[in-house]
Symmetry: C2
Subunit: 469 residues, 2 copies
């Protein structure tokens, strides 16, 4: 799945590349920052996801013959197309670890490459990181409220087309336990699970017979859907009958599934019926338009639900359709670069940089990341990026450098981790974050500051560019 | 791009399929309806999209060796896996034409196939049709307000991963004119266009020099981005200088692009400067968080914008993440099937069906579709699906049968149309729809009725299933 054409890009990347090529800028080194401006879901943090896919994909990115023929029809020059024929990404990438908690306006990843290579990968980089980070963050919010319940991704049918494939991966990083998506299960080594559809029950004249056949035909992790006709009068009693028959064969019914009606009420009543029948081991799964808010409410009502199947709201990141990640030039052709904007908050940060996470003596985040120049080893005082009189002495904190080299000369330097490893890392990073950043309503705002040297460099560039106007 | 693995499905489809296989139900014919329950964007219509992709993909769908090995590890039986090795979709599909205006609760597409094949394609069918219909509808709404302005899809970087590929196609069906997405342009034959990024300007010490190099290096459809430093003091004056230099070489600057600030104000001021310089042919393109509401407002302010680049809100369908399309069993093993639900509005319609669009003598929609049994040729009276005393005499209308056979024995029966043809068809169908269904606020509700025969068949099934409880 990781063989992408380098035409997975915006046309303007190639138009600009042709100009750089013709003007002899093609070997100019450029540095770009990837960051986002606004946290999704009005939350207090995001979970960085998509890095391994991105690195694998760009390490193999190329233009094939038919791509080049198509570009010729788009008016690109022969000399430039010859250059593209040998195109490979041979740059260096510094990045936060996949699964880390990340915050707005500070670099999560930096690309250092010749300017053509750096531009051509921009679109796919934004496309993959923005989406997976959005979904891993959503999944993490759901995991936060779900406690020990199992969380399953049921979203493929409502996903944004093939985006659902990457959604299943990101959901695991955010703390899900499995997916219904067989392809994602296979390609990303995700536990796959599934129950049955209403259509299966409907295709029989009789619900009990349908349950029986399923228990015989697919006894492994058998989950019976109990709401096709009447949950408490028909579905649960029939499931109990089948569970008893399975017991007689030395098998165990794994769970029943509720997919409509008041899930809290039906879960409680179903639990009662199951327990009265001595089936306290049979779990209750629930699905139907779930998200972090519904699950939180169900568990606050102590609904006895053990497994949540989450679909649409997980895989589309609803209500947020996208993370607003951007890719901004910080350095090129030997010089720091800046973008002045109508809005001060959109002025970019020049130079190659490092991000330091401030931690106390117990390794707990204190709620601040500081951005410095890459050659700085420790920040003494961090300054508010736009309010020059606000600053904070950070000299006493342990400072963890967040951006690490993950690719060099187009080769991945990090070894592949399992999704479980990335997810465990993510949970451990989240546990270092104080609880006030994790609440859903008006979470505490994580501080982002810049070093005095970076601030001074930015000031100098703003002044010199204003003089030119 | 259309070679998909049949593992692009939910695991429960395969679990159910194994049960059908073991129980000897594998040759039972089933009929499933595809429809959605709620119009996106609180709008009055949707544009059906994704059909051709779906048919092409399912006509080639299969399990390869590694898929079967993976399924073996998931506990599926050897005999069943042997059956899957030869799996192909060999069913029949009846569908509305791609691009048609469609409405909630009535079948848009019907699948008639053996029950295993019909189940296995469910997930990919929902995945592709739900998403493309969502995006084509969004694009259509933007086209409705944009008048003759050119509309370009700039969304790939914020799309839900590879879903962006299909978003570009659906955008064209809804009335867009082109995309920045090179891969989609190549695979779907979409006009591709692009301008330049701020990073390009920033990579130069001087904006004018950057513009000059671009006009020389890529003079075809040259669009200059004028807001990197100061739109009216620097960007537009420099663009005018370059436009004059291009004129001297017998070339023409196509457009300038505004990407920040108050687009209405900057467009008007830029237009003035361009016109004063005798450059009234140079167009103005605008981008930055556009959607149908912002574009409507800009044009109401008579902002002189000729080209709109729409990104995030188009390709993610924001604020709606998904169309809620479902796939419901209507017939199997020689019998009509129904799903009773806690909510009357979710009771399904049994039997193979046809949908009739009511038109007046001028070919205009009167705002009603009636659902009948497939053998009905004309509906005399249509009944409200859930309120038995509401009915409407439709005998005097011309009745167009909407569902046509598009696939038989797994072979596509329709010939491929260009996206322009599908889009033109869509516009012509939309023009048959009275204007009150197209407004954004509280649009008129399109009537969906059922024939008396279908109503009676449903009643009979509801009664008999209630008797069993």
């Amino acid at each position: 799945m990781n063989n992408f054409s380098a035409t997975y890009t915006d046309q303007y990347q190639l138009s600009m590349a042709q100009v750089y090529f013709k003007k002899g800028h093609k070997d100019h080194t450029a540095i770009f920052d990837y960051y986002f401006r606004k946290l999704p879901y009005q939350g207090g943090y995001a979970i960085f996801s998509g890095l391994e896919d991105l690195l694998e994909i760009i390490s193999k990115l190329k233009f094939n013959e038919s791509d080049l023929e198509f570009l010729k029809l788009q008016g690109f020059d022969d000399e430039f197309l010859k250059y593209l024929k040998d195109f490979r990404f041979r740059g260096t990438i510094y990045s936060a670890q996949e699964g880390d908690v990340v915050f707005p306006t500070r670099p999560i990843l930096q690309v250092e490459a010749n300017i053509i290579e750096a531009q051509i990968i921009e679109t796919i980089l934004l496309n993959l990181l923005n989406f997976q980070t959005l979904i891993a963050t959503k999944a993490s919010r759901i995991r936060l409220v779900a406690g020990d319940a199992a969380l399953l991704d049921f979203g493929l049918r409502r996903a944004q087309a093939t985006g659902g494939f990457y959604a299943s991966r990101a959901a695991m990083i955010g703390g899900f336990n499995g997916t219904s998506n067989v392809l994602a299960g296979k390609e990303f080594d995700i536990p796959v699970s599934g129950t049955m559809a209403h259509s299966y029950i409907q295709s029989y004249d009789d619900e009990l017979e349908a349950f029986r056949d399923f228990a015989v035909g697919r006894p492994e992790d058998c989950v019976l859907l109990v709401d096709t006709y009447n949950t408490l009068k028909s579905g649960v009693p029939n499931a109990i009958t089948v569970a008893k028959e399975m017991e007689a064969r030395g098998q165990k019914l794994l769970a029943i599934r509720l997919d409509s009606g008041d899930l809290s009420y039906f879960a409680r009543q179903s639990r009662k019926l199951l327990d009265e029948a001595g089936l306290n081991y049979v779990k209750i799964a629930a699905s139907n338009q779930l998200d972090e808010h519904v699950i939180k409410s169900l568990l606050e009502q102590q609904a006895p639900i053990d497994i949540f199947g989450v679909g649409t709201n997980l895989v589309t990141g609803d209500p947020d359709g996208a993370l607003d990640g951007v890719y901004k030039l910080a350095f090129s052709n030997g010089k720091p670069r800046i973008k002045i904007s109508e809005s001060i908050f959109k002025v970019t940060l020049p130079h190659k940089k490092q991000v330091f996470r401030m931690k106390d003596e117990n390794g707990k985040c204190i709620g601040a990341d500081a951005i410095g120049l890459s050659q700085e080893e420790k920040i003494t005082e961090m300054f508010h990026p736009f309010e020059p009189y606000k600053s904070m002495d950070v000299s006493k904190f342990h400072q963890e450098a967040i951006l690490q080299k993950v690719m060099e000369n187009g080769e991945m330097l990090i070894s592949k981790r399992t999704l479980k490893e990335i997810s465990d890392y993510s949970l451990s990073r989240l546990s270092e974050l104080p609880i006030e950043y994790k609440r859903f309503n008006n979470p505490h705002i994580y501080k982002i500051g810049i070093s005095d040297r970076l601030r001074d460099e930015r000031e100098k560039l703003i002044k010199s560019s204003k003089q030119k106007l």
